[in-house]
Point group: C2
Chain length 519, copies 2
């Protein structure tokens, strides 16, 4: 088991403190970044460790840009033996699926010593982040913030006087290799509680929501929020921000930081003790928060009907004589060495299983009990979606291997936002539950949780040609197989950089072709 | 600094205990091995750690074969983010330079999830080993023994009754990533001392030598020896084998194991305390051992003259504002992402520096003092050797960065054996020292040390088309730049597997060519 020394979750949170955004960049600018990824010594919690840094920094540099900008990241891999990719979490990569930064899916990993150019457009404002998407390199420290401001001349539907970005993440003392071998799962969640200060949630995953006030945030790995706070408290004091673990009984103390009023020294301690975060398994509290998130008026509306529904049962299983895995409809995802984008584009027959993965699970499966047959199998098949079709996904949670255990999983979709149509307890029943779907103002997100023993219904339009991961954002869970792969309209994808294809069977195809032409 | 918990050096040592080799395999057999490389938990010294294992074993499986056999290793990389290669240390790879297993030199690293086939002939008997040759994966645990028996019908020029193979290696508690970042050098050496028992050295690096008796072996990283011992001691006792560190003041106790007489329980402790190994800096002892190694009569003789002499000054330096490096003629080797074998074969212009690296060092350089100007630069140029020419290499040691410090370095040549023509103290002086070269019975080796402040003269024939590393075998020293690259007759190299070329600029060349043909 990995030892957790800090209970942060990877995500961004926006506080507003001072008036008016100070930047006045032009929309449509091309912004160049030159990054080197390498291991560096760092002591995030006073214990020196090796982390994966960018340009000598951990976390990596913050990208600040404006909606409509194109960013070009010239990424050089200065690791010695490891490949690397970076995923731009929340960016839909419209027209640039090869830049999604998912090893085995959108591109070949960048080899040590090599440079890859990520080039993509920031199509809308929001609080995003980026992170490694290969093995467990995110846990190794490869991440940073990506803040996209509204385009010049446009206005956000709320006002604030300044901002503060908070990027929080898990931190372990054991190396990710150690964690990978142990296959230990560490689902962490946090709640931030700026004391006394009310939080007004205005944005979730880069989409505006109907503002609502809360005392704390219930946030899961892969999510992001913007919240407004009003600095209406006694200005002679500073205030605690508490961060607690949720969903799993914490073995670590709360994380703490200070909300510093400008009038005070940043080191002045608050007069009262830090607020205690809600207990880790207060799911009613979590659900109450989650169901408050609704789209702001004027937001894109979901199609009223769907073309295809895929139900994905999340189970914890055993494989090959005892290894613990996670499986979806009893298939534990094992990514192939040849990225799907290339192997599908070029019609390769042996790059992955051409058998369609299951659309549902047996009706008699009891989600409230441990699996009767805990065994699962590895698979790497793809859900092929008709281009521009409307797809409903029902994520169904279940009991894990132990009795009376069902974990929370935050599912993240690449290449799209989805509407969250509803949450429910127990097994999803179409005739009963579909009627309760919110088709009026469901929030657009790229990440949504399933609560213990519950289901979550999502809808999206498969309108972005490419191959896209959809997976639990808890990195060890993905590592243990908790994900699926969607492909849509790959024949429409053009201009994949050769470098993104120069590995595995696509690489072999090219070298063989070239050799044949040479001979 | 890495903490050393065991003071073993990677090498093999053959004890003979029982009569007659029991194997009767046919010469010329093809031997298939199917190996998976992956991280495993292991506790080599009672502290659990993650090591790089093969088929779940650490060290990896022993390859046992016969001279004339062809081995085929189907190597699958089951690491999650790291490439991998395996070097077959001491095997000359005649006609198969692409199978030498050196990342950046002979092949593209095998990507995670992919399989590569090493196929090569074992051209002569000997005690060899194999190990990772990418980053510091050897230190991570990727190694094992490779024992090649004499061909059927042939006889070894000595007799023994049984055998025992000992593969010894350094062991660290910190991960290799930690070590890589720290660039901490850990040159370790060992001396084995079977108590009372005399050792008769009969083979070094796969070549027979004139038998000589010693009380202990003075062995360096990358070397191998076969020694005969006669079990002529009191059979009611067991005996200690002591292993001590040399060349650097040890921070660890001696390693110990037992020589067990069959008549006794393997757990019976010897009656006397373990022998104390010679102190770490007794260089006179080391030199006395080394100069006893002479070729057995009938061994291949060196050419009497040479075509080209390359003098390689070994210095410790600083680079880029303070990083400690090792440099050869003031060039610190930094391997390029595109392997040389492919980039030279296909005449690529931008894969590495086309400037020839220096053949010598300034005459005024004082090897007895720290460098006056400690700065060095990175380089990746190649020494291009005329095919079938005779090359002399003089390895010149020098004072390191600190006053009165000069370390021992064991230099290993790929693709060839070399004759060790002589050792000397101080700066090599051609007119004075060349006369003392041993051209009569110099030993053939693939690894030779330079002693502190000394020089070592080697001769080899560049008769093996390919690109070959020549480097200090202490892995962190190589990692810090202590090596050079030789290329010879690359135009004669054929049948490089496409997979060995499918990365970097050769990969790009192929994908571009194929794309042009497709369009």
């Amino acid at each position: 088991m990995a030892k957790v020394s800090r209970s942060y979750i990877m995500m961004c949170m926006l506080f507003s403190i001072l008036l008016i955004l100070g930047h006045s960049v032009e929309a449509g600018k091309v912004r160049h970044f030159k990054w080197d990824v390498e291991y560096i010594f760092w002591s995030p919690d006073c214990e020196e460790n090796v982390v994966m840094g960018i340009n000598g920094q951990f976390p990596g540099p913050t990208i600040r840009a404006t909606a409509g900008d194109t960013v070009v990241i010239e990424l050089t891999n200065k690791l010695h033996t490891e490949g690397v990719v970076i995923h731009w979490h929340g960016i839909r990569q419209l027209g640039t699926p090869w830049a999604d930064g998912t090893a085995s899916i959108s591109q070949c990993a960048i080899n040590p010593g090599e440079t890859f150019y990520y080039r993509f457009k920031l199509d809308k404002a929001g609080t995003y982040f980026y992170h490694g998407h290969y093995g467990m390199q995110r846990s190794a420290g490869l991440y940073g913030s990506l803040i996209v401001d509204v385009a010049k001349g446009e206005k956000e539907p709320f006002h604030y006087d300044g901002e503060l970005n908070l990027l929080l993440s898990d931190w372990w003392h054991e190396s990710v290799h150690h964690q990978e071998v142990g296959l230990s799962s560490n689902p962490m969640r946090w709640i931030g509680e700026p004391q006394n200060h009310k939080l007004v949630v205005v944005e979730a995953d880069g989409n505006y929501v109907q503002p609502f006030a809360v005392d704390d945030l219930d946030i899961y790995s892969g999510e992001s929020y913007s919240v407004l706070i009003t600095t209406n408290q006694d200005p002679s004091n500073n205030y605690w921000v508490s961060v607690g673990v949720r969903g799993r009984e914490p073995k670590t103390p709360q994380g703490l930081t200070l909300l510093n009023y400008n009038t005070n020294s940043p080191s002045k301690l608050p007069t009262s003790p830090p607020p205690v975060t809600p207990i880790w398994n207060d799911y009613a509290h979590s659900k109450s928060f989650t169901t408050k998130i609704l789209a702001l008026m004027g937001s894109p509306q979901p199609p009223k009907t769907f073309h295809r529904r895929i139900t994905l049962l999340n189970t914890q299983n055993k494989m090959n004589g005892g290894y613990t895995k996670w499986a979806i409809n009893n298939v534990s995802l094992t990514l192939p060495p040849t990225p799907y984008l290339g192997s599908i584009k070029y019609g390769l027959k042996n790059a992955f299983s051409l058998v369609n993965p299951p659309e549902n699970f047996p009706n008699e499966y009891n989600v409230m009990k441990p699996p009767v047959n805990p065994n699962t199998t590895a698979g790497n098949g793809v859900y092929t979606l008709a281009i521009n079709s409307t797809v409903d996904v029902v994520l169904q949670n279940a009991n894990a291997l132990s009795e009376n255990v069902s974990e929370i999983h935050p599912w993240h979709l690449h290449g799209h936002d989805f509407w969250v149509l509803g949450y429910g307890d127990g097994k999803f029943d179409p005739t009963r539950d579909e009627r309760k779907f919110n088709l009026k103002n469901p929030p657009l997100r790229n990440t949504a949780v399933i609560f213990p023993y519950g289901w979550t219904a999502l809808r999206f339009v498969a309108d972005n040609p490419g191959v896209w991961a959809f997976h639990c954002h808890i990195e060890p869970h993905l590592h243990m197989g908790m994900g699926v792969v969607f492909a849509e309209g790959v024949r429409h994808v053009n201009n994949i950089p050769n470098q993104a294809l120069a590995c595995g069977l696509t690489g072999k195809m090219f070298t063989t072709r070239a050799a044949n032409h040479t001979n």
